[in-house]
């Protein structure tokens, strides 16, 4: 078995009962309940969602998570996964394995990615289930009259995953770099606020590693123009580049810290 697979397997083992897993499960379920509630009260109360088709229902969900839940979830998730190692100085053991610390780090990054994918899959399944429930409770919505567009879900999922890669790379590095849980969290909140203040109107926003979450839905809905290369938006391409950049920085930190 390759070192990378061993590291990933160890990460999965140590995630049992962990805060990161509970956050992924509870956070996703809470989000789904919140969105179902917002749809149910949507037409009666201002600020709620209204949906008259699967397309609208799905777009509402992605709109809801992209704005705040997604970046915050990634920031907290990274902090929690690395906190496990910082809390008991586990790096002493991890640095003295017969496996390269880089593989350990990559295993951790892969685990973060898988956890995110798992939570996202749960989100999609929950969204479809809650859509059926909404259709039953509000027959006028028409959700029971047709099937959801799987192509739409596939595109939004792919863009969501691509959008968070850079943020995940950045926060995995920050969470490894700073032992205090609060530091990467504060940096993340600051980055998120700055990206929010700059808004979608600023042309260069796609270069900001905190921005892709803000940009992919406005671009999807045609409300924002972002440089793009074929199917990929500039923000998504930058997200991939940032993942590489911050992983390289993490490797340097690994070497220096040792």
């Amino acid at each position: 078995m390759s070192s990378f697979i061993i590291c990933l397997k160890a990460e999965v083992r140590k995630s049992r009962n962990s805060m990161a897993v509970w956050l992924s499960l509870a956070g996703t379920v809470a989000n789904l309940l919140l969105f179902l509630g917002l749809h149910l009260v949507g037409e009666q109360v201002g600020g709620g969602f209204s949906a008259n088709s699967w397309r609208e229902y799905i777009t509402n969900h992605y709109d809801g998570i992209a704005f705040m839940m997604l970046p915050l979830y990634v920031i907290i998730l990274c902090s929690l996964v690395f906190l496990m190692e910082h809390r008991s100085e586990m790096w002493v053991q991890l640095y003295t394995l017969a496996i390269s610390p880089r593989q350990v780090y990559l295993g951790k990054l892969a685990f973060l990615f898988l956890l995110f994918l798992g939570a996202h899959l749960l989100f999609i399944l929950g969204m479809l289930f809650s859509g059926l429930l909404f259709g039953l409770l509000r027959p006028a919505s028409g959700l029971l009259d047709g099937l959801p567009d799987l192509g739409q879900i596939a595109e939004l999922s792919a863009r969501t995953v691509l959008s968070i890669l850079g943020l995940m790379g950045l926060h995995a590095w920050l969470s490894f770099r700073f032992k205090a849980f609060i530091v990467p969290l504060l940096i993340g909140i600051l980055g998120y606020v700055v990206a929010g203040l700059l808004g979608t109107g600023w042309y260069w926003q796609f270069l900001n590693p905190y921005a892709p979450g803000f940009l992919f839905m406005p671009r999807y809905k045609g409300e924002a123009i972002i440089p793009h290369l074929g199917w990929f938006s500039g923000a998504e391409l930058m997200s991939i580049a940032y993942l590489g950049l911050f992983t390289a920085l993490a490797f340097i930190t690994l070497k220096r810290r040792k």
Binding site: A10, Q93, T96, L97
Partner: protein
């Protein structure tokens, strides 16, 4: 076979200081013989843990060279090294068994070894309990279990008796002997307790003033002790007793609690002292014979 082949750990000219601070060790030389139980002894805060970290490459040395198990430190070499430095490194949200399974995954160790090491450290009944509910001593035992899980050839244990009750200390002492004698592990353990080192180790290194002030076998350290005796006496009257002993040529001094103490060259002199005092009509109320101890040797290196 050269010296390097016979050493589990060989350090030459080690120099380490934290940024902007005085050197913790400088020009330090160390040889841990293969198959030994080597006790690294030193006062609290003298740098034992720092040295142990440096020996496995966890600290950037300013100078020096280290060989582990016959070669320079390489990642692969850690397959044969187990360690417990400063505190047990464990995941509190997992059970003892799960902690061991995580490490078994990293170390490519078979699952059956997990229950084996839990038995060895006496945690078989607490294995499925979450570590956050463990006592300090239980965590220490789990830390040792994690260190020996992959049957390392070299085991580094930093203050292994920390947090253990007397029964636990005896059990760990026995475990250390068994690991050394039955599994052939070379063990480097640090302690500030001389008694612990005396009872567990075959070799001794005394860290003082940034170097190993003594390094060698325990027997070698004992052979460096003077062969003299110290006699502590409580007698009545004290003044004439002191005068009589000095007049007879013994080096006598007032001791604690109004007593006297004198140094003798050997046991035959004890009866001569008694005869002298009784002959002078002095009553002897208490007589304590103390042989020169390893503790005195240890203290002499610090003075």
């Amino acid at each position: 076979m050269n010296a390097n082949d016979q050493s589990a750990v060989q350090a030459r000219g080690l120099h380490f200081a934290y940024s902007g601070e005085k050197a913790i060790f400088s020009g330090l030389e160390m040889d841990v013989p293969l198959g030994s139980v080597y006790g690294l002894l030193g006062a609290n805060g003298i740098g034992k843990s720092t040295l142990m970290k440096a020996l496995v490459g966890l600290l950037p040395l300013q100078a020096g060279r280290i060989n582990l198990l016959g070669g320079p430190i390489r990642q692969k070499a850690f397959q044969d090294v187990g360690l417990l430095i400063e505190q047990p490194n464990i995941y509190p949200h997992l059970s003892g068994v799960d902690n061991l399974l995580v490490m078994a995954t990293y170390r490519k160790t078979e699952r059956s070894r997990v229950s084996e090491v839990l038995n060895l450290v006496g945690l078989e009944e607490a294995g499925n309990k979450q570590v956050r509910h463990y006592s300090t001593g239980m965590k220490q035992r789990l830390g040792i279990a994690l260190a020996i899980l992959h049957r390392p050839r070299l085991l580094l244990l930093d203050e292994p008796a920390n947090g253990l009750d007397p029964v636990g200390i005896v059990a760990i002492r026995r475990l250390i002997r068994a690991l050394n004698q039955e599994e052939g592990m070379t063990i480097l353990l640090s302690s500030h307790l001389l008694s612990e080192v005396e009872q567990s180790c075959t070799h001794l290194g005394i860290l003082a003033r940034g170097r190993l002030a003594y390094q060698g076998s325990l027997e070698g350290a004992r052979s460096q002790l003077s062969q003299g005796l110290r006699l502590r006496l409580h007698c009545n009257p004290t003044g004439p007793a002191l005068d009589a002993m000095r007049a007879a040529g013994w080096k006598a001094d007032p001791g604690e609690n109004g007593g006297l103490q004198l140094l003798l060259s050997g046991k035959p002199e004890i009866s001569q002292v008694i005869d002298l005092l009784r002959g002078a009509g002095i009553d002897i109320h208490e007589l304590i014979i103390e042989e020169d101890r390893l503790e005195d040797f240890f203290l002499s290196l610090y003075q």
